[in-house]
Amino acid sequence: MSDQLRTSADHSPVPGFRPRRRSVGAAALALPGLLGLAACGGSGDAASGDPGTVRVVDYYNTPADDTVIQDTLEAVGTEVGVSISREKVPGDQLIQKVLQMSSSKTLPDLLMLDNPDLQEIAKSGALAPLEDLGIDTSGFTQEILDAGTYEGKVYGLAPTVNTIALFCNTALLKEAGVEAPTTWDELKETAAALTKDDTYGIAFSAIATYEGTWQFLPFMWSNGGDETDLATEQVAGAGQLWADLVAEGSASKAVVNWGQGDVIDQFKAGKAAMAVNGPWNISGLQSDAPDLEWEVVTIPVPTEGADSVAPLGGEVWTIPQTGDTEKQKKVAELLQKFVSPENQLAMGAARSTIPASTEAAATFGKEHPELATFVEQVSTARARTAKLGPEWPTTAKAIYTANQQILVDGAAPEQAFADAADSLG
């Protein structure tokens, strides 16, 4: 720095650079700019890809899911004659990733979506109707197809699905001398009987996110409530059940802050004798609490003999509109093989989820007796977006908001759900 100031004859410093230094300085400044531009130019080509590679995006990050999906995709890819390039994103970032890819026109060839999000994405025009690409959807139940349908066209197929049921700690039940409940009255009595010391009778998730709504749906639907009209006594009745369970102390007040992962943690730790949860947590349950004896029963119904209707979960696989129709047809071929009954059984076994096609599900129930209840519950399960389509998320929000008001503020269920219905307009 010292020789930047050139001195004049009287040795006083003179500001300004010598020409040589100035051009060196200018060049040094230009270089990063040019490098930056060069870097920007190079990355655009990766998106178009070569015709023999199918780009896949999904959110299967847990080892069990990841391995089986990767293996199945690669096996099917070899059959069809393409190679697979797969990108996994964290679960809660998938939609943001999809939106980014939509706007930069870099949607993958095969995209996995959680079924309630499919409506929103299909509405934006980003997905191709599967039947137009020659996919055969027979063999899947109407409910499962509904989960992947928007305005009458099927946009996504789910190879495996899941739902929720009631996990019971058999040791604690035997100790208290009670049976697994089948009706709501039995549920309240059993939960009360099982609550002692620091163990709660039952745990469920009433959190202020879509998870809370998801857990509420079996109670709402089994009671005859419908998501198209929340201001009915059937919906309020289901809300009253939850309020009663918390008020009687059979369920912790903390349910308003628990996600389904927290609920199963409570069950594993023996802090909850019963838990409403899904089969995706079974492998974790087996590894974290191997000594815990548990069984699964269908969610109790309001009166004896009523149908236990649970929500249909699971991810659908879709084919985005990439503009390359040849490639889309190839991917459709891939998808058809991917959701074949044999692959469904393999994926279901590895991921503890239920195969979607009816005969595969029946075979699965026989091969995996611990998941038999889920097979049964799935056969009567309903898709969340079947009636409301892309309007489902706002209704889901209204439902969990109402439950929060009931459980936290002590609002009367009728009022809370009437307000919820009003907020939907």
């Binding site: 006083s12 003179v14 100035r22 400044l29 934006s124 202020a208 908001t401």
Partner: protein
């Protein structure tokens, strides 16, 4: 310019570096200016790209109907002030605004008072004081989401360590539903934010305190001012520039706290901890109404801007008064 140079150099012999160049070497106005701007250019470009563009885009987005469909089709029809009307008439808006005010005021008061107390405490050096001061920085260094996750666990109603400790000591008989009751949720979140903000306050106030010469305290002591009076008449006035910076930065930062609240309560229970920032996030990334989220975000920017202008003017006026 060149004729006045010798007189100015004669008048200011002590500042040779600032004098204008000697008449023998005429300045070329463009060249050194070009180099100066050349050095400014990367920083200016960065600011324009990463600060200017998002703000402008956000402003424009708040007047458009920008939803998830826009990402695919690129269509975002202009809707004028509709987004602002929707956002301001949202039933949760007033509650969110109130929560934001309570959260900010509660956090800043707590952080500042405790930070000041700790800074004063550490003025004396005692064994391990250096070590303790570094350990105090830990809350600031941890990622916010990690702190939120750990605190969520600590504040758990039935099995959280805070309730267990309070029960063992005998201060409470039934566990306090910290994060699950509408009454205590905001208090719990403010508590955690105070914990997070203490290091920032301690560090800045401590360095401000170091800058006050000890002779002043000795002089004040001679006049009879010790303890509280010396704090009030010597420390505080001299600390004012640091205090104003700390408060301003603290408020601006606290108004937009998002990840802490999302990690602890997600805005619940029953919107008890919903602030303007969390509501804006929810609108954009949960409901995919980006136009409305942008409108609410702009409301937050305006609030922060108004506050900083008012505060800075009050500060300027009081420093001008001496």
């Amino acid at each position: 310019m060149t004729t006045s140079a010798p007189t100015s150099s004669a008048a200011e012999p002590s500042a040779p570096a600032t004098r204008t160049p000697s008449p023998r070497r005429p300045r070329r106005p463009g060249a050194s200016a070009l180099v100066r701007y050349g050095f400014l250019a990367p920083a200016a470009l960065y600011l324009a790209a990463f600060f200017g563009y998002p703000i402008v885009k956000n402003f424009v987005m708040s007047f458009q109907e920008y939803t998830s469909a826009t990402f695919f089709s690129g269509l975002a029809p202009f809707v004028g002030l509709d987004n602002y009307v929707t956002v301001l008439s949202d039933p949760i808006f007033l509650k969110a605004l109130g929560n934001t005010a309570l959260f900010t005021i509660g956090s800043i008061v707590g952080q500042f008072v405790i930070g000041m107390a700790l800074a004063l405490f550490f003025r004396r050096s005692f064994p391990l004081s250096g070590f303790l001061r570094s350990v105090l920085l830990l809350p600031w260094l941890l990622p916010m989401i990690v702190s939120a996750a750990v605190w969520r666990w600590i504040l758990e109603q039935d099995s959280g360590i805070l309730n267990r400790a309070l029960e063992t000591i005998g201060l409470i008989s039934t566990p306090i539903p910290w994060l699950t009751s509408a009454d205590t949720a905001l208090v719990a979140v403010i508590m955690v934010n105070i914990w997070l903000g203490i290091p920032f306050n301690v560090v800045l106030l401590y360095s401000g305190l170091q800058a006050i010469p000890t002779e002043l305290y000795e002089a004040a002591e001679i006049d009879g001012a010790t303890g509280w009076t010396s704090f009030r008449y010597v420390t505080l006035p001299l600390l004012r520039p640091v205090v104003s910076v700390v408060l301003l930065l603290g408020v601006i930062y606290t108004i937009k706290v998002l990840d802490l609240i999302l990690g602890l309560t997600g805005g619940g229970p029953a919107n008890a901890t919903q602030t303007v920032a969390t509501r804006s996030y929810e609108m954009s990334f949960v409901e995919f109404e980006f136009g409305q989220g942008a409108a609410l975000g702009n409301v937050l920017i305006v609030i922060a801007l108004v506050f900083s202008i008012v505060y800075l003017r009050a500060n300027a006026r009081s420093t001008a008064k001496g």
